[in-house]
Symmetry: C2
DNA sequence: TTGTAGGCGTTATCAG
DNA sequence: CTGATAACGCCTACAA
């Protein structure tokens, strides 16, 4: 069943059928009705491939992320997909993990599928070593690239994100005001936003930003699951490090910190304050519930799609949009 | 840059270029190399739309789910996408919410994009009222349909799932053996698997399955977030209902149950045992950590994709594959 | 082993 | 307002 069949049954040319399908105004009401009736009777659907070939687009955008089962990324995907669909676009999902090589391969794969744009979700897509971002710049020559929660300079590269620097800065300041002075910073990613967060911590703590953070006892770069985080903190403590607050770059890490406190009979928030990041569902699951930084993911994602739509329509759109985070106070802090 | 450009530069016909691209053996090593060199130099990528038009496929399958930010569904999507990509397929994601009308609309939308198959994730896609599943049956006439965690009879409809009936049955029995006898069942979905789980409970409790479960005090159908669940349980208790164990159809509900116990100073697991479902990340976040039923999502998803690949290749594949669940013991039970 | 030519189902440009 | 026809870029008999 193709456009020729319809045109024959309706007694018109395929051009007219095409016009009706695409809502072209230059069709008389009469023939329009006639054609629509036939289309309806036959349950005809235009062939998307042929259409794609003609228009050089199938209204599809690629969404890349490290791991769609991560609660934060999963939420982002949800928001993005919803907005895309509202704009009549489909979402092609691609989980890449964290390796640059794999990401480059997959990005080119999506490009070869002729997606209209590519969304990179998670600041971990932006590597500290700028050479490693070249493949993104190359891709931006073909289609617009939008980065959620990260930023990269470039002609056709757009970013929507939250001010992570300010968020952590404010969180640390709030802890200080509530009486904490030995504040540990725990993070697991040296991505773009990872670095911003770290800077916020260093600045709030009045630490010279030029010093190598890996040398600082109070800055812990650690990757692992909840239990491993718990044990890591426990061993830090055993080795004599004292701290009365922990700020983490991710809620998962903060849950590990709560488990650490439980294991070592440290009371929260009296002896130890904890602040997580992302305000994900798990911040409501713990006991006590986790004070967490809400980085306005929904707003960021919505903005991201509207920017993208603007760019695809050739409008003038901002290269970078920054939102403010908000500290959601729950049970792991004294303020 | 198209196949003609390549053929011209390489001094061969487009047929030869096509053969090289598609790994057709009937090409001499010499011309093959020549063509590959030109392709490489030009950075040529075949046009996926044209290819799709010719082959009537773009190696894409649609994944539909209610809400990709739900931890359970997010995990499923992750596993599915990974396996699809391994088989050289792309995943088109579509979040539908829970309304049948919307789902039908979106399913037809995916169909109109000429996906090679459609995966329905979550048993909530299978409605108790069989008429409401007709749109799925209709779709199965065009492409294979695979249901993850649910089942529906039909010609081209495949299912991979876990034995939810048995899982809940065993969980209730285990609670009974550990001394509980007033076991509350809390669920939020009357889907296919929702009903299976409920049956498992009723059977283990020796309750006549023909009775309307909505009439039973110990069977609570309730939809809401963590806090609402907590409050609902609290009001049940205030109204005189006594229970020493709660089995829930979802980890989220179980977290609400833990919060309920906290709020009312009921000790877990001494006075109240709790078992969740899905063994999702949040079962490790609570305190105490949640005993939960692991429904082998990864195995189910992997099986789902291999079944699908078999079906697409015209092989003989099982219509329905059932896995056994496993109770993961943590801190909310006495066993 | 290689080339020619027709077909896939649209959209869009021109005439009329 | 409508129709004929040329792209769009690839695959694949069939012919050589």
């Amino acid at each position: 069943m193709n456009i020729y069949d319809i045109s024959r049954k309706a007694g018109v040319s395929i051009a007219t059928v095409s016009r009706v399908i695409n809502g072209n105004s230059n069709v008389s009401e009469k023939t329009k009705e006639k054609v629509l009736k036939v289309i309806d009777e036959c349950g005809y659907t235009p062939n998307a491939f042929a259409r794609g070939l003609g228009l050089n687009s199938m209204n599809t955008v690629g969404i890349m992320c490290a791991d769609s089962s991560d609660p934060f990324l999963a939420s982002a995907i949800y928001f993005l997909e919803r907005q895309l669909r509202q704009n009549n676009y489909d979402a092609l999902l691609c989980c890449t993990g964290y390796e640059v090589d794999v990401r480059e391969k997959y990005l080119n794969l999506l490009l070869s599928k002729r997606t209209d744009a590519i969304i990179l979700v998670g600041s971990n897509f932006v590597e500290a070593n700028n050479e490693n971002n070249q493949y993104i710049r190359d891709a931006s020559k073909k289609v617009p690239i939008i980065i959620v929660n990260g930023a990269l300079d470039g002609e056709n590269i757009f970013s929507a994100l939250c001010d992570d620097y300010r968020a952590v800065y404010d969180a640390v300041k709030a802890l200080q005001e509530s009486g904490c002075n030995k504040i540990l910073y725990l993070y697991n990613s040296k991505s773009y936003s990872g670095n911003k967060k770290l800077s916020g911590y260093l600045s709030a703590m009045d630490i010279d930003p030029s010093v190598d953070p890996d040398q600082l006892d109070y800055v812990q770069h650690f990757n692992g699951n909840i239990i491993e985080v718990r044990d890591h903190l426990t061993s830090l403590r055993k080795n004599g490090l004292e701290f009365d607050a922990i700020v983490t770059a991710d809620d998962n890490l903060a849950i590990g910190a709560i488990k650490y406190a439980k294991l070592n009979h440290i009371s929260i928030p009296d002896e130890l304050s904890i602040i997580g990041y992302n305000n994900s569902i798990i911040s409501e699951c713990s006991d006590p519930e986790l004070t967490s930084i809400d980085n306005k993911l929904e707003a960021v994602c919505n903005n991201c799609i509207s920017t993208l739509m603007g760019a695809l329509n050739g409008q003038e759109v901002p290269l970078k949009t920054v939102f403010s985070a908000e500290i959601v106070k729950r049970g792991t802090t004294r303020f």
